[in-house]
């Protein structure tokens, strides 16, 4: 890691080039730029998570810490390559007036042509698409479950502000559940006449699952509370009985369907690097999430 104090974009770009030459100009094969907008206390964890995800998606990772917007503009940065990263990384601290114009720092550092993803590991802007950094990206990743302010409403706000390219890790967390539920109906091909989702009290993922099931199955979906962790049970009601998946411990689920023996199935809660890696696999619009977000807003307004 090289520390640059009172620098600018050109200084950071020059350091990238220097570090790369020093490493013998290896083939980096970077496929995207990942911009992480983060607080000082979460910066370390977020960069670690990006390191995990960068194994699958080699990226130039730019961590941006927005400091106090008052006073003279100062940019400090830590730049590094190699040693566990299959890409380049810079953690950029902005202070003073420049905090209002972070895109002016980030834009010159984007990899040519390649896509840009933005990630807010904790609190996200109300409307990520019109955020100055969010506007640079075609993928905008928020995490309603990690919000520290008005957590109960976070996913509703994100869904209400949905724009092409937005996505939330609460949605990513649902993929294994959704896959298993779809597989459950493959095995038990019958019309679903009702459904319920049980989860801890505040669970953006559960809210999204309710909206998705409602959207796909066109039935009312009950939402009940449990002590968690996360989602603990999903029931699909059919004429011949209930198909259900319950996971009391956050690891191993039981798969129950009428006329069939109960079967255990591993359904682990995934780590943030895994979620991020899944999120970066596709950078086009997620139509299913779009439909689900619309549905969630509609359900909330009822």
């Amino acid at each position: 890691m090289i520390e640059l104090t009172d620098t600018n974009s050109a200084g950071i770009a020059a350091e990238f080039l220097r570090a790369r030459k020093k490493a013998g100009s290896p083939a980096m094969g970077m496929v995207m730029t990942l911009v992480i907008v983060v607080d000082e206390d979460q910066a370390h964890d977020a960069m670690e998570a990006a390191r995990g995800a960068s194994k699958e998606h080699p990226a130039r990772v730019l961590g941006v810490i927005l400091g106090d917007a008052r006073g003279k503009a100062v940019i400090n940065a830590q730049v590094g390559t190699g040693s566990g990263w299959s890409g380049e990384t810079a953690l950029i601290r902005l202070n003073g007036e420049v905090v209002k114009y972070p895109e002016s720092v980030v834009l010159p550092l984007l990899l040519p042509d390649s896509p840009v993803a933005a990630w807010w590991p904790a609190d996200a802007p109300q409307d990520p698409a019109s955020d100055p950094l969010g506007a640079l990206a075609q993928r905008r990743i928020t995490d309603a479950a990690a919000a520290t302010r008005v957590r109960t409403k976070a996913i509703h706000r994100q869904c209400a502000a949905y724009a092409k390219g937005n996505t939330d890790l609460a949605w990513t967390r649902l993929t294994p559940w959704r896959a298993l539920l779809a597989a459950a109906l493959d095995q038990h091909p019958e019309k679903v006449i009702g459904a319920s989702v049980t989860a801890e009290r505040i669970s953006p993922s559960a809210d999204l699952l309710v909206a998705w099931l409602n959207d796909r199955l066109k039935v009312d979906v009950d939402r009940t509370n449990s002590d968690g962790p996360g989602i603990t049970e999903v029931v699909l009601r059919t004429k011949s009985g209930d198909v259900s998946i319950n996971r009391p411990d956050g690891k191993l689920a039981a798969f129950v369907s009428p006329g069939q023996p109960d079967r255990p199935v591993a359904l682990k809660r995934r780590s943030v690097p895994e979620l991020l890696a899944e999120e970066l696999r596709r950078l086009d619009e997620d139509d299913t999430y779009a439909a689900t977000a619309r549905r969630l807003v509609k359900l909330a307004s009822k």
Binding site: A27, G29, A179, L185, D186, Q260, P261, E278, T288
Partner: protein, 514 residues
């Protein structure tokens, strides 16, 4: 599945949703073999860990050992612990372990196959496998007949309505055209062609599939992918090790039958074939068959093939014995451990572009790659001295290890004089992507359970590749019988026999050092 029913939770636009196999189980014959323990069992665990196996998936082991279910579970546990790609998790193991069964018996044991049938029926009942079972024959081909007959006799091969039975076989698919046909006849009698899955693990590799992506997704390469620009193609599969303990299998088979017939000819087909209409199994097969049936052999096989056996010496800093000194190998053995051949493809695209294939054991290093070597520029507006270090432009697909693509082209040497030399541009697929990318076996086993056949060679392809190889094998056999031109000994740890180098030198070319 009942007709007219569409699962409302499935949506083709929902591309995040992974493919999970439907209710099913697998019966593994030959559970004690290397392949079963090192590849198949770990791949099954990795699939379960990634959440891609159906709930209730069951694995039945069949072998002669006097084991109980728990002993078999222990074997699977150990092999998963030692060889699985993904992290070991107790809850995944529990899910898998509940579906493990063992049936003891040999391949002619009627009572044991009857027990196997009852075991499968019991699994359908308690685990919900729905009558869908794949029989994985990880056993020597000479036993295929026995097992297949038994499966038929005990009603294991015929599915009930709405369920399936599939059979999975591994290479070698015969040792020549005739035996390949015989082998197929044995399987074909009982299982219809669409239920037979031949595993060529090379085709499950990400880097091999990437050959198709690179060729047909880009506009940059296709225009020059023909005899106007390509000088020749070299396909190399080299191993740095000897035959190890595989004497029984290897002697009498040799390098050409072992890997050339399947892996190398498949690689050649992927590099040379025309664009398929789509990427379904049928379209791919049509294009591969077309290219394989336009392969012709050189007239003078003695000048355009080479073979050798590794001799004692030093390889990679270790003292090693020669092939003829390996345990259980007769010192009169003529089995080749190195083979190289020239093939020509008679199509408009490839006329006059030779494809050189080589494979061998105990060579310089372990590497598999396909190199497309381009012609030199028709006119070079530089002085002759300026371009002395410039050779042929090359695109290299590095299949393993260090997966990726290399491009070699000329660039100016910094300085006041105009000097041009070859430089490499690397795309490293490995290191980054591969850590997260699944093993070939995972992909292939999942495809078997899903019934998705694009990556499995069909009998026709197998027969066509034997048709290519048979005359060469016969030629070598004739040479041996006549006592002429024996298998040449080559230096361990180097790049094969002199005759292989001479073979290319006659065409005015050289083997790349991979």
């Amino acid at each position: 599945m009942t007709t007219g029913w569409t699962n409302p939770l499935r949506d083709p636009d929902d591309r995040r949703m992974p493919r999970i196999a439907g209710p099913s189980g697998m019966v593994l014959f030959g559970v004690t073999g290397d392949l079963a323990r090192k590849k198949v069992m770990p791949a099954i665990y990795d699939l379960a860990n990634r959440g891609l196996l159906p709930p209730g998936f069951s694995l039945v082991g069949y072998a002669r050992r006097d084991w109980a279910d728990q002993d078999f579970a222990q074997i699977v546990h150990d092999s998963v612990r030692a060889h699985a790609r993904t992290e070991f998790r107790e809850e995944v193991w529990r899910q898998l372990a509940e579906g493990l069964r063992f049936v003891q018996g040999d391949f002619s044991d009627d009572a044991a196959f009857e027990k196997l049938r009852r075991t499968i029926e019991e699994l359908d009942e308690v685990r919900g496998t729905g009558g869908n079972h794949a029989f994985y024959l990880s056993i020597p081909p000479k036993f295929f007949g026995d097992v297949i007959d038994q499966l038929e006799e005990h009603g294991l091969a015929t599915p009930q309505d709405g369920s399936w039975r599939r059979v999975v076989v591994e290479k070698p698919f015969g040792h020549d055209l005739e035996s390949a046909r015989e082998l197929n006849a044995v399987i074909d009698r009982v299982f219809p062609p669409e239920s037979v899955f031949r595993i060529d693990h090379y085709l499950g590799k990400e880097t091999v599939q990437n050959i198709l992506a690179m060729r047909f997704a880009n506009n940059l390469f296709e225009p020059i992918w023909n005899s106007n620009y390509v000088d020749h193609v070299q396909i190399t599969m080299a191993e740095d090790i000897g035959i190890g303990g595989r004497a029984g299998y290897y002697d009498g088979i040799g390098a050409a039958r072992d890997v050339m017939q399947n892996h190398l000819i498949q690689l050649m087909a992927l590099v040379a074939m025309e664009e398929p209409v789509s990427f379904d199994a049928e379209s791919l097969r049509i294009e591969k068959q077309k290219i394989l049936s336009s392969v012709v052999l050189p007239r003078r096989l003695d000048l355009n093939t080479a073979r050798g056996q590794y001799a004692a010496g030093w390889a990679g800093g270790e003292k090693v014995g020669g092939y003829l000194e390996e345990e259980d190998i007769a010192n009169t053995s003529t089995t080749e451990t190195f083979a190289s051949i020239r093939l020509d493809v008679e199509t408009r695209r490839w006329a006059g572009v030779p494809f050189y294939l080589r494979t061998g054991k105990r060579l310089g290093r372990r590497v598999t790659e396909v190199a497309v070597v381009f012609k030199r520029a028709p006119h070079l507006p530089f002085s002759e001295t300026a371009t002395e270090d410039l050779s042929h432009n090359t695109v290299v697909f590095r299949i393993q290890p260090d997966e990726g693509i290399t491009m070699r082209f000329g660039s100016k040497v910094p300085g006041t004089a105009m000097e041009i030399r070859d430089v490499n541009m690397d795309f490293a697929y490995g290191g980054s992507f591969t850590e997260a990318s699944p093993e070939a076996y995972e992909r292939l086993i999942l495809d078997v359970l899903l019934g998705d056949p694009p990556l499995f060679p069909q009998q026709r392809e197998v027969e066509l590749s034997w048709k290519v190889l048979d005359p060469i094998l016969e030629h070598w056999a004739k040479q041996d019988a006549a006592g002429k031109s024996k298998v040449e000994q080559y230096r361990s740890g180097h790049w094969g026999p002199e005759s292989a180098h001479a073979m290319l030198a006659r065409d005015g070319r050289v083997w790349r050092r991979p």
